[in-house]
Symmetry: C2
Subunit: 554 residues, 2 copies
């Protein structure tokens, strides 16, 4: 009997999961809430775009969750820590951490402890909007091929925009940073004891999706291009990495120090780190034809297409990268900048309610038929990641009367996210990525059958829920089992270790028909306010409001 | 010393006010909340467009409020009921009541007591949208002159649309009705003891603004036109009225029966009834250059232009009618379908708060600068009365992020109503009606300085508040004083009896500049969703949603 451990670094907490490789049974789990900031996130009261995280939280959580999960697993008499053959790690991204020449985060240094720019720049940090736009513009002129693989637009959530913004606003931190490491590469590096940032075996998913890395050119963007942004970025290039790796071979083996800390055997396999949703997709059983949607604060949509096929570049998606999810496949990633966060905003920020209000509104909203609220919304409260790739878009709600209820708005917000999901499915199918069913993971998918049925009716796809409620951690454990050689490849590991819940949400013809009409209206709004169609001044309205807001801020 | 009584029939209650004619001092007042329905309004749980009122409430409230107001006035030793020289009455409109041949409301008859169609059809009843559209269409073809004076579009809130809808949905009630009388004509008729509906001296303001009456043609719309709608309407015409009157001469004198009921002298003057906001405008001191805005659940904007001038027809306003407000002037009326109702919707329906939450949100919203919320809304939760004249428009809110607060939305809703107010001011000025300052009445104007300042900054006009908090009842008392011959004309009566509070809201240059930009965006939304500009499918989006909503209603 062998076991692996999957470790999932989320936006507010880290989770460890001990999994039996023969059947995916989950023997022990533990969560550690990041103690710093607000729910683990370092915020700025004035600049709502800022979102950072304390790297010390990652290290503290690593030891604590693994030991606690092992302790819980030990209640199974057949289990012993010696049977753990590997560890896999996933994390949010792009969440780059500035480190010194020994791979030590600058934030652990007293000089930088309280400097937000020396912390991890969390995926949802949007301070780099200007830099992202400049990168897109420069690449469009000098290196259009860089943009083609990432959907045509570089995002403020991504690696180079964040580094460049740091260079602009805090050159002291930028200069002190020997290198920058993505969270999902940083933790495996810690576990393998890698002390030279340039020697870390980094994952191709962060590299390809977020840092414009490709084997079609010489890895990361070339120095001429980076110099055009800022010569300092070009000088940094050599202290990053030359090659990034898919998950077919391990990142390394567990070092003595961390073996001791965790109570595991030295030398067991440490899998290549992947983005949370990529290992999540694996944990949900992603294959050709199955789109995996991880529904959390935001969503990430992952699909794969055999590397044997010719795949066109797809405009407006987050990227299409060989080996990014499964070795031997192109990984296709898309997503919505806010989903659960929108419901949370409505219930907690506006209505000042709690979890019980979510349940109450869901009950009321579930009594409504499609179209009955008369409302239509755009799901852009946190910008649009796919297919418009524009952080400077905002929410919209249309159709309010004097009788519109909070539950009707709640349903309209759910429907808005479903329409956003549909826009993604339509786009990738149009470019040849097969989507026959959608498998979801995340608490919302498990707990909200109404949402799942709405998504089925809006997308026209069968919706399923992954068996494990810890899809990302499970996927990391699958990666660990492959890295350890327990399975020859991912499909066989997935077949043994992952599965679906029985419930099936099938599109209903009558609801589909109404949602088809509503989706037509959604696309009219989407295209007008997204600037796709030329509609009076509406295309610029949201940006103009943000510009005025920035100008009038107290 | 002489006194008059003003009686104001509002949407939820009736108020009587005893006023000293020499200086406008208010000696006694009393309110009667209509006991029927919800806050005095008979609703339909399924059809949100329906709003009716029980005429018995009007009669009960008449006696009760006048007696109570007189009792309060009697605490002044100089006052005695014998010194009351006249009564003026105003009411909501168009609020037509079906009556029998003795001017008795059908609703008082046991056969019709529980029939909503036999009650007063309250101004905000929107069941007649289809009939209003058909009237507009028919008039555009056959009698374009009918439309010219009422802004180009006949509204579902108005007389003929309501009568026609009654004929369609309840021919029994329509047949039983000998005539129909507007609330503001009905109460003076009761007081004068008029028992033949065709002989009631009706006011020109309801006739001209709501029933397409004009001396330019033969009074009410002709039989050929009405026959084109429905021959039954043409047959009714002769049982309505031939001539309508301005307020220069009385409607009649107090009959013995009601003199006895009220404890007043028989034979004192009863003024011509006017719409609440028209007498309200008089009570607020309307004159050429002063726009009076009565801010309540909705708003009504009234202005006057000397009848000596040539005044062009103004598209999109509620009407321009000689003598409708002040004798000797054109009365110009416009309005917004919901203002206070929108804030009430947000606080009470959505947030489930009470008056204290209004105060709390106002405090928070007041700390924001113009533009700082990043939000922009359309004030159409109850349709658009002016300048689009389209009940089938709905609300819109734009610019929400994950941080948008309830107070920011509250302010954005206030700003949206200010932009709606600005659209009206711009339109009437464009057509030659002078607007130098705006005088407001209503509880919101008195209690919410933030709203008043926003309106000043958005409209660019000085904003003032009328001295009396009972502007409509005061205006009716002014009308009574003119009817009684205490004053030779309205300007001298207004000079003696009305005034303004000291506070002046002056437009601030910096706020004006920001609101000028925001108003530009508002107009883009307004014109796109209002169907003024050809913007993809947005012009029809709200109607399409309402159509789907109607179709999917359970």
């Amino acid at each position: 009997m062998s076991y692996t451990i999957g470790i999932d670094y989320g936006s507010n907490s880290v989770r460890a999961l001990v999994v039996r490789t023969s059947d995916g049974a989950e023997l022990g789990t533990s969560i550690f809430n990041y103690p710093s900031g607000e729910q683990g996130i370092l915020l700025d009261p004035v600049d709502h775009n800022l979102a950072r995280q304390n790297p010390a939280d990652y290290i503290a959580g690593l030891e604590q969750t693994v030991r606690a999960a092992l302790k819980e697993a030990a209640s199974d008499p057949d289990f012993s820590p010696d049977q753990v053959v590997g560890i896999g790690v996933d994390g949010t991204g792009s969440s780059p951490i500035p480190v010194d020449a020994n791979n030590r985060p600058l934030a652990l240094d007293d000089r930088f402890r309280d400097n937000p720019n020396a912390q991890c720049w969390l995926w949802k940090d949007h301070t780099s909007i200007a830099e992202a736009a400049a990168i897109t513009e420069t690449a469009a002129k000098m290196r259009p091929q860089y943009l083609a693989k990432i959907g045509g637009t570089y995002s403020s959530e991504w690696f180079w925009a964040k580094l460049w913004h740091c260079l602009k606003v805090d050159p002291g931190v930028f200069k002190a940073a020997y290198s920058w490491v993505e969270l999902s590469d940083f933790v495996p590096a810690i576990l393998t004891g890698a002390s030279d940032p340039t020697k870390i075996r980094r994952g191709v998913c962060m590299a390809g999706h977020k840092a414009m890395y490709s084997e079609d050119w010489n890895g990361l963007p070339d120095e001429e291009f980076l110099s055009a942004l800022d010569p300092e970025l070009a000088r940094l290039r050599g202290r990053l990495y030359d090659k990034a790796h898919d998950a077919s071979a391990p990142a390394g083996t567990l070092c003595a120090e961390w073996a001791d800390k965790l109570g595991l055997k030295e030398g067991i396999a440490i899998a290549i780190g992947e983005m949370d949703v990529h290992y999540g997709a694996i944990g949900c059983g992603v294959d050709e034809g199955t789109l995996v949607k991880v529904i959390g604060t935001s969503t990430c949509d992952c699909a794969v297409v055999s590397a044997d096929k010719e795949v066109a570049d797809i405009p407006g998606i987050c990227g299409i990268v060989p080996g990014a999810i499964l070795p031997g496949f192109y990984g296709v990633e898309a997503g919505q900048s806010a989903v659960g966060d929108i419901f949370k905003w409505w219930v907690e920020v506006v209505l000042k309610g709690d979890a019980s209000l979510h349940a109450e509104l869901t009950r009321e909203a579930n009594m409504l038929k499609p179209g009955q609220s008369g409302l239509l919304g755009l799901d852009w409260n946190n910008g649009n990641r796919t297919i418009l790739v524009d952080q400077e878009l905002t929410g919209l709600l249309l159709g309010q009367t004097l009788h519109t209820s909070r539950a009707e708005i709640y349903r309209a917000l759910i429907e808005a996210t479903a329409f956003g999901a549909r826009a993604i499915v339509d786009r990738i199918k149009e470019y040849g990525v097969p989507v026959e069913r959608i498998v979801c993971s995340g608490g919302i998918a498990e707990k909200n059958p109404m949402l799942m049925q709405i998504y089925a009716d809006v997308t026209g796809c069968e919706m399923r829920v992954t068996r494990s409620s810890q899809g990302c951690a499970l996927g990391s454990a699958v990666g660990a089992a492959v890295a350890a050689g327990t399975f020859a490849d991912f499909p066989s590991a997935q077949a043994a270790m992952t599965g679906l819940k029985d419930v099936v949400y099938t599109p209903q013809a009558d609801s589909r028909a109404i949602y088809e009409e509503l989706y037509g209206l959604y696309r009219s709004l989407h295209d007008a306010f997204g600037g796709v169609t030329d509609s009076a001044d509406l295309g610029g309205a949201m940006k103009k409001l943000l510009e005025i807001k920035a100008r009038t801020r107290g």
